[in-house]
Every structure is written in C-alpha cells, then in structure tokens.
Symmetry: C4
Subunit: 348 residues, 4 copies
C-alpha cells in the first residue's frame, strides 16, 4: 500500500517541492492552531466496535447530490496543482475518474474549468467559486461551470479576506512564473489588487449563483449551526463544514467540533460534508458517525499528486477507501449511508 503512509508522502513532497511551494501547501494561518488541531480533533473520539453482526464486507458506495461515487471520500478544491505536478488538475481529475471519486475543481486552478471537465468526461465534478476578480468575471465563471457539465457549484465563503499565512508572508509567496492561472479574467480586465475576497457576499448570493449556473449550490466554509440553517433557508443544497485547512480564521473551532452542531441544526434532510485533517479510515468513520454524509481531502491529495501524479492521487484515494472499509468491518457496520452516532465516544 505505497500511498497509504500519508506522513511519508508529505515528507517526500517536502523534498521534491521548492520550499515556498511546500509551505504554501502545508501551512496555515497565524499560529496554525486550527490547522494543527484538525487531525487531533478527530482523534479526540474513540471507536466503539460492534461484534457478532456477521459483517464480512462493508458497502461504501453512496451518492453526492445525486452523483454515484465509490466511497464517501471526495477531493476538496485546492489551488495551483501544476506546482505539484506538470499535469496539475488534469492528473487529479483522471485519478478521481479512475477511482470513482468526486473532484472539486478550484477557481484558482492552473487549468481552465473546461479543460478539467474534459479530462474526465462522465466522472462527476463540482466547481468551487471564489470572488477572485471582478463581479462580472465571477458571474461568468458560475455560468461556465453550469455549461461545462459540473454537477454542483461550491461557494467558498470563508475567505472574506485572505488568511494571514505567515509562511507565505515570509517567502513573499507569489504565483510561480510560468504557471498558467487558467480561470483568470480575459486580457484587459485586471484582477483586483486584493485578490481573493468574498467579503461582499451575503446569503442572497446562494440563490443568485444557483440561478446563474443552473446548479445546486454547496456552501463551503460553514462552522456554525445558525449559519448552516441560514444557508439552507437561502437555498443551499448542502453545507460543507471546514476551516479551509486552517488557512483562514485562527484559532477557530475545528471541523470535528463544528460538525455535530451543524448536523443537529440542519436536521436529517440536509446533506452535510466535512473536511480538514482527515488522514485515516477511522478519521473518516468518525466524521460519518458525527453526521457527515461524506468527507473531503485536501493536502493528502496534494502529497499524492506531488509524489506520484495521477497514480499517486489514485493511491491515496484507494488507501483511505480501503482503510474506511476495514474500520467499518471492525465496527460491525454494513453501510456507510447509515453509521450510527454511538459508533464513537469522546476519548478521555
């Protein structure tokens, strides 16, 4: 299982990548407290295995807003994948298709949204939207995502301004020369100086972008029950609990902390996704037990792509999926679509 040891993949990536790139991928905001606590927070729970249920294998297949996937483990949107591997997002897309996983494509991709879509026809993809440039250009991206066959629009709302990422400040990290910013505005229309900023967005944007794109809208960046309810009332198809990999507010609550609150607030009918620090099958199972319908991976995919391109990404997805299946059987659970809450209990 060569792509299963994520710590090793990260160590190798650190060797392979220029320091500013590694630090851009690996780092978080301010004191990196939220980033550091992400994995710890899942591991603050313990499994309570069931026995004698006659469970020989677990059924992992599920749907993400109607799209069938092999397992409830998706690819979170992350920027500038060409810095990790020459094929960038295209390799990731092919790996997702090959392993039956859903990929979320970032606005800040190095390949245009149409190119990524074309790299894996038939495989379900979501497009993640930022207000990276002018309002007009942002609206345009939403429309193009609908046209290109994406299955949902993911509004990332936790970047009113960019987080204070000290490592990037130290490196004066700027986009590496020669890497194409594929979803940039057309020539002549300059990107705003302050870059990334969704500060102007309000709950009304949910319905508006839904109409523009013709797609269900997933709101990514929710950490509170009250916000989750407002999103749903404003028309969101699902909410995505995340701290943005600990790259925005710091020290913010961890996803594992916020998840049960959000699940309780929105009730059973609303889909809740989660990411942040998922590094093992039991982390994923813990998230499902706490009420997530699926988990997403950020950095593990980056390390897979860096060290092995398409094969690396597929290896990471296969590895985590196998671990999840193992944990399910260990706990006597037949189906990922109904993991009881009492499968986990707080560690003491």
């Amino acid at each position: 299982m060569p792509y299963l040891d994520l710590a090793l993949l990260e160590a190798r990536s650190r060797e392979l990548l220029p320091e500013p790139v590694y630090d851009y991928y690996a780092g978080g905001a301010e004191t990196e407290t939220t980033m550091r606590e992400a994995t710890e927070a899942w591991r603050a729970w313990r499994l309570r295995p069931r026995v004698l249920r006659g469970i020989t294998t677990a059924q992992l297949g599920t749907e993400l807003l109607g799209a069938p996937v092999r397992a409830p483990i998706g690819i979170a949107p992350w920027a500038y994948q060409a810095m990790a591997h020459p094929d960038g997002e295209l390799a990731t897309a092919r790996a997702a298709a090959a392993t039956g996983a859903l990929m979320t494509v970032s606005t800040s991709a190095n390949n245009s949204l149409e190119e990524v879509a074309a790299a894996a026809p038939g495989s379900p993809q979501w497009f993640q939207l930022y207000r990276l440039h002018s309002e007009r250009h942002t609206d345009d991206l939403a429309r193009r995502a609908g046209d290109a066959g994406y299955r949902a629009l993911v509004l990332t709302v936790d970047v009113p301004v960019l987080g204070r990422r000290r490592r990037d400040m130290e490196h004066d990290f700027v986009h590496r020369a020669g890497v194409r910013m594929a979803n940039r505005p057309p020539e002549g229309e300059e990107p705003t100086l302050d870059g990334l900023a969704t500060a102007t967005w309000t709950f009304d944007e949910i319905a508006r972008f839904g109409e523009l794109s013709g797609l269900p809208v997933v709101v990514k960046g929710v950490l509170r029950g009250d916000d989750a309810v407002s999103c749903v009332q404003a028309g969101a198809a699902a909410v995505w609990v995340t701290t943005h990999g600990g790259r925005q507010a710091d020290p913010a609550v961890s996803s594992a902390y916020a998840l049960p609150e959000v699940v309780d607030a929105v009730g059973d009918d609303v889909k809740v996704y989660v990411d942040g620090g998922i590094r093992s099958g039991s982390d994923a199972l813990t998230a499902l037990a706490l009420g997530a319908d699926a988990v997403f991976l950020g950095r593990p995919i980056a390390w897979g792509l860096t060290t092995g391109g398409e094969r690396g990404v597929a290896g990471v997805l296969d590895g985590l999926t196998e671990e999840l299946a193992h944990a399910m059987v260990m706990c006597g659970l037949p189906d990922v679509r109904s993991v009881p809450r009492d499968t986990v209990t707080p560690a003491r």
Copy 2:
C-alpha cells in the same frame, strides 16, 4: 521479586527475541493508540483506601465459572508461544498449574489443544476459538476442546478481519519456519488464504458452539453494553471486555472505559472478565472495583515466558498476585469477591 518489574522483563525480552517476534508480541494496530492507552486508562483512577478495618490479610481465592483459582488473575490466550520459549504453551500451562491460575489456550497455539491439556492435568483451562480455517475444522476444534477437558470455550469475536498491525506489515511477519501450528486443519484441508476471520459469526454462534463443545461460552471482544446484553441473551455464560491488546480496532475505547458500561448493562448475575494493560496490583484492583470478576494478562505472560520459561510465567503470576494482596490490605479490603465500586475515583 525478580519477575515483578514488568518493564525490565519486556526490555530483556526485546534483547532475547528476534525483532519481528518481539514486534509481533509488543505491537498493536494502526497508530497503536488503543494499545498505548490501555495501561494509562487504569491509571486514570485513584485508590481511596479504607482504614482501621482490622484487615491483616486479604482473601484472594475465587472461582472462574466454577473452577477455583488462587487469585482473580488469569492468563489470556496468545498465539505462537513457542517463539518465546521452546516449551511454548506447555511451559505456560505448567506455570498456571503451579500457581493455581487459569490458562486460556489459543487456537493459534504451537501445541495442540490436547497436548496443552495433558501438560497440566487437573488444572483448569479454557480454550479460545478462532475461525482460522474452514467452518468444518472450526467446529471440530470446539468439539475437541470439550473432549479434552477444557472448562469453557472462549469465542474471540473482535477479529472479523485481522487488525492492521504496521510493525508486522513492515517485517512481513509470517509464522517462523519450524514452528508447529498444532491446531491447523489436517493435511489436505488448506487454511483459507485470509486466515483469521470471524466476520461471518453472529450471536447465534454462541449457542451453537456451546452445544458443539458442551461447554459454557465466554464471549471475548465485547466493548459495548448493548453487545454484552445480546451475548447474554444469546446464551453466553460470561463476557470478556478487551481490545485484544490494542491489536484490532484502533483507536477504540480502552477496556477500562468499556468495563463499567458493560457491568452496568449486564447486571450483577453475569460474570465479566477484562484484560488489556493490566501491569500492577493496583491496576487489577481498579478493574475489580469497576466491576470485573477477574483480570487476564497477555504480554506480561509473554515476557515472563521469554525470560524465564515456566519459572518466568509463575514469577509474573506470583508477583502480580502479591501486589494485588498488598493493594487490598492497603485499602482495607478483606475479599476480592466483593470490592466496592467506591474503592476508586477518577484522577483529576
């Protein structure tokens, strides 16, 4: 008290054993969180000694499903004892007989169940059953256990599949050449490739194996109150709370955490045994206070056998028994058969 310093015995064993064997004995599953927490979890409790009770000695004798033992400290089943010492299970059986302790013999023993039984006639033994091979062969083992004079059948149910033990994966640990797998199926009937697997077992197996063997059934591997109740309802004579030494599900709750829940669920009339990380007399006393009727030892016996053969195992049993007696007198407790719950309180 040369066999009392268990850390020292383990250190010596590490020197004496080939690394893959030491790691097989010492290691656990995945991040080894559950393994590491086993002892810590007992030590998350503090003793509340009673004074002026006129207690000069403690009565340690008790019964395990009708069999009288010198103290409520038994030997847990563990595999491949011939790797620790040429006499393997036979040495352990003799030490148990010599010290009045009950031994549980593993399916994966290097001596056949009949040989181990013959090594210590009259001394009470339990046989631990795995579905290691074909169903037919497994049924056969249950029958043979009854015939050979074992006093109970211990169904190990926490191995639907083998735990992911990283150390063993690294060493590509396989059974050492030249060591006899005594309870293997007869020539011609091949062991299944995936080896150890009880995934197909259900609660119905409890009564079925009880009938096959004619023995009371102890279900080993229970970590939940609801499961414990189901076992009893399905005919179990007792339940054995364990994480399999942290070698299966990880990160699972520790035995010390699960024990009170199981005790409360099954009530006073059902016997509850426990193992995992018991390393001192006060660990044992804590388990008794939390409701266990007896504790069992895994690795301490392995280190005793490795370093001193039969004498080593007896030394470990004597040492722990003496420590338990000491702790009982210190706490003003006359009898192991009734250790009040309020003898311990959570550490702060």
Copy 3:
C-alpha cells in the same frame, strides 16, 4: 509589519536591555504561574466565524469613558519607561497620540504627570495612582492629575504589598542610578521604606479620590464579581480586570477566567476593561467577546518602546489594531462595540 512579531520584539529587547531591567519588565511573582497562564487563558477559547454577512471592513472606533479612540486597545500603566528608552513616557505618549490610542500613565513614571500630559496635548490620558509615599503626597498626586487634564484616575488596588518577584530579588533590583522618579514626594518628605502599598485602602477611597481629582475613577486590580459590584456601589466609573501582569498574587486566576464573572456581576451598564497576556488580534477579540469594553497592553508596549521608541510603540499599536480588524472581518463582525458572546467557545 515590523512591530507585529511580539516574540521577536521581546527577544530583541532582551538583547538590548541590561538583564535586571529585562527581568523587571518580563518577570512575574513567585512561580510565575499566573504570568505564564495569561496568554494561554485567552487561547483556551476558539473563534466561531460567521459567514455571508457582507462584512468588508470592521468599525473599530469606540469611546473610553467618553474619550474617542481609534480602537479598543489601550496602553496599560507601567513603571520606569526611561529604562527602556531615553524619552521614556514621553515617547509612549506621543505614539499613543499618533495612533489614536489612550495611554495610562503610572505613578512610577520617570517623567512627571504634568510632563507626560504636556507631551501629547489633546490626546486622552488616564493617570494611575499608587500609594507610593505618604498619604498626603498621594492625595496631592490625585489632585494634580485632575488639574493636568487627565480624563480618569485609575486606582491600582492589587498591590497591598509588592509581589514576591524572584527575578528582582535575585538581581536585588533597585531603581537604576540616574533615572528620575518624577512623581516622588518633594525633598524633605521621605518615601516610606516599604514603598508601594495600598493595603490601607478601602472601598471608600474610590469616592474620596474621585472628589480629590474631580475625575471618574477606574478600579484596576479586580478579579472577582463581588469585588466589582462593591467598586461600582462605591462609585467607580469602571473596573479593570487584571492580575497586574502576573506580578502580584500567584497563582491567581487569569484575567480571561475572571472577566466573564465580573461582566456578569456588574451588568451591561458598567464598563469593564481587561489586560494581561493580550498578544494578538484574536486574543483581543476573545476578550471583547467575553464582555470587555477594551483591552490594554503592558509588556508589548515595553518591547515596542525598547526596540523602536515612539515608532516602536506606534508599530505595536498599529499591528494589533490591524490584526483585530482582520479577526473581526474573518468572523463577520461589523463593530467592536457589539461583539456577541457566542463569537467564542471553549477549546476542547
């Protein structure tokens, strides 16, 4: 943002200052437990960001007892500033004026209260009163503060006797030769031998000093709800929750612990200020969420003054203010004057 890395500023200050001076600034009482816990205690809380509120900038301006300030971040009184920089309190006063911050001037200043007032005409200042000398001289200082245009009198009440500061004892720290004790009694009237001592003060002092000075009185040194209520009943305009930078009682509760208790006790109409261990924008935001109307800085100002004089102090104030603004926008909060309690939750 050169003055934002407070740890670096402190490290540089340590190099620049004679060891006894650095230790006087940096040290605390007894085991320094309270000092060490000050920052940790703020960081025992986590932010719960709000999204999609359309918040592009945060309004930071507020009033401190009627005096408008740019942000709710003031300068706590600290002694002997001329040891950090030749201009001493005058540099600090000018930096406060330049950045729209309020400065609290200590009785133990190296420049007389009139001189400090004159250094920054128009900029709001508070005068902090000790019973450093005779009662007569202390009364005189209160009167002079009123005459010199100070906007409030801050009674420091947590120094009945000086804390046992081990570092100072080791260095036999005494006021450095050549540094002027500007608010000392006139020649002929000797300072009392035991120096600093407010042990004789009672709640009645609040009204008495208010009348003497003609100023609103802020009681600095409150760590209990009951004491806070007594202060308000005795005529205090506001209470200031502090452990004196961990330089007095030890191990005392931290400010972050005492703050909610005090806020709850005095109710919404009474202003509550807090200091101790505030080192980042999110620390400040946490304090506001817990009910503080403003936070004050001690050592960060000392390190700014040591390393950069007036510019250094201004840099520290600018840096923290910018961080607070950033944290507010991240949390979707428009106005420092109303930060909801549920902006934070205990870390787990």
Copy 4:
C-alpha cells in the same frame, strides 16, 4: 530568606546525605504517582484575591487542640531524624519551640519520646504512635506519651503494612548502624520481624489509646469522608488527611482531593489537619481555604534539618509562615482562622 527555596534545600540535602538516606527521605511507594501529585494537586487551584479590604497584615496565630501556635503550620512526624543531623529530633524540637510551632514526634524517632519532650519544655508537642512492636510495648508508648506531657496522641493508621518503596528495596535500606532506635522495646522483647504494622487496629483503638494515654486522639491517614465520620464517632478529637507523603497506597487520591470530602463529611465542629506536598504559602492558603485547620510539613523539615540543623528547621518554618502571611494580605484576608472557601477556584 535562605531557607525559603525548598528546591534548593532539597538539592543540597541530596549532596550532603548518603544516597540511601536521601532516597529514604525523598522517595515514595510504587510508581510514586501519589507522591508526585501531592504538590500538583494544591496547584490545581487558583487564588481569587479580594481587594480594598484595608488589610495591612494578617493574623496567623491559632490553636491546635487548645495549644496556641504562631501559625497553622506544624511539623509532621518523620522517622530517623538523626540520619539528617546528629542532634536529630532534639534540633527539630528546639526549632519548633523557637518559632512557636507544634512538633509531632514519631514512634520511629532516634531520641526517646521523653528526651524530645525534655528538649523543648513548654512548647506543645504531639506524639505519633505506630504498632511497631508488640502490642504490650505499643500500649506502653501511649502511656509514656501522656506521662511525658505530650498534648495529643496521633494514631497513624495508613500503615497496615509498609508501602512498597522501590528506592528502599533497591538500596536494601536498613536502619543505619550506630543510630539509636530510642522508642524500641526493652532488651529481651524483640521487635516483630515485619516491623511497622497497624493492620490489626480498628476504630475501637481510638478510644482505647485515648484512655491509655489520657490524651485527645488525632487519627492520621484518613482519605475518605466515611472513614473520617467513623473516627469522630469512635472518639477522635481530630482527623489528619494525608497520603503519608505518597509512601503508602499508590496511586491513591491526593490530600488536596480528599480534604474537601473529609471537611464536608465531619462538619464545622471537628478539626481537620492535612499534609502532603505543601511547599509554599499559597499551597498552605489553598489548604486552609479547602477547610483545613492547619497544615503540616514533612520533607521540607527534613531538608531544613539536613542543611542547617535547628537553624535550618526554623528557617523553613519562618519562610513558609512569611509566605502564608504574604498570600493572606494579597488575598485581603485578615485571619487564618476564617479563610473562606471561595478564596480558591479550580485551575482551568
């Protein structure tokens, strides 16, 4: 304050003493968990200072069962003081007399109880009783204590058997040649082989020894509320909460944990004393706040005696007393005889 830095005194003692002696004084039972937690447990509380109470000095004088003492800080009984200093218990007794402190004299003293009494005529002393030898000799000691003018008999009940002190086992610690066991039985009557043992004692012993000695009886070794009540019902004048310096049951609850339970159980009219890990004035104040009427010191006295003889012991007592006075004034408390419970709160 040369005898105030207890860590330094201990370090010096370690240099001065033969290793087996140092280890006998410094060590505890089994894993030394209880010993290690003793001081930590006091420091798991934080002070909540009161302000503006006009408290310039604190009144420390109190009574111990009718005997006036300068402060509620006494000397716990500890054995073999001649190993620390040639004058042994006589030096300690003189220091107690000189500082107005009460000394408890151990059965295992190197000077006879009459000699120690004679060393400090008029100064209040208590005699601590063990069943070190035959019952007849033990009764005799009780009678002699009454005759010699001791003010109370302290029954140590937490030594049914000697604790398992690993350091002493390693050194095979035996009483050093040439040191007189002054309270041994007369020639001809041999000490029992197992030495120290109060296992045969019951609650009835309290009244019996009270009658034999004609003295009020303090029961030392109580860690439970129910036991404390039984002691009082059986005629005890007071109970003494202690873990015997972590030298007996391990891991037992700490004194700081047991104290409030005992205080609540016996009510206001019964005196409760406590020892174990008291190392500073704020530790002592915490104990008083939790309901103790006085604290006692073990090892700090040993280090004082080792490093400075009579002067050393007096120095330690003076130092702690001064620290307690300081902490009282810091907390606005006028009198040790009434320290409110809400002076402390659990650390977070």
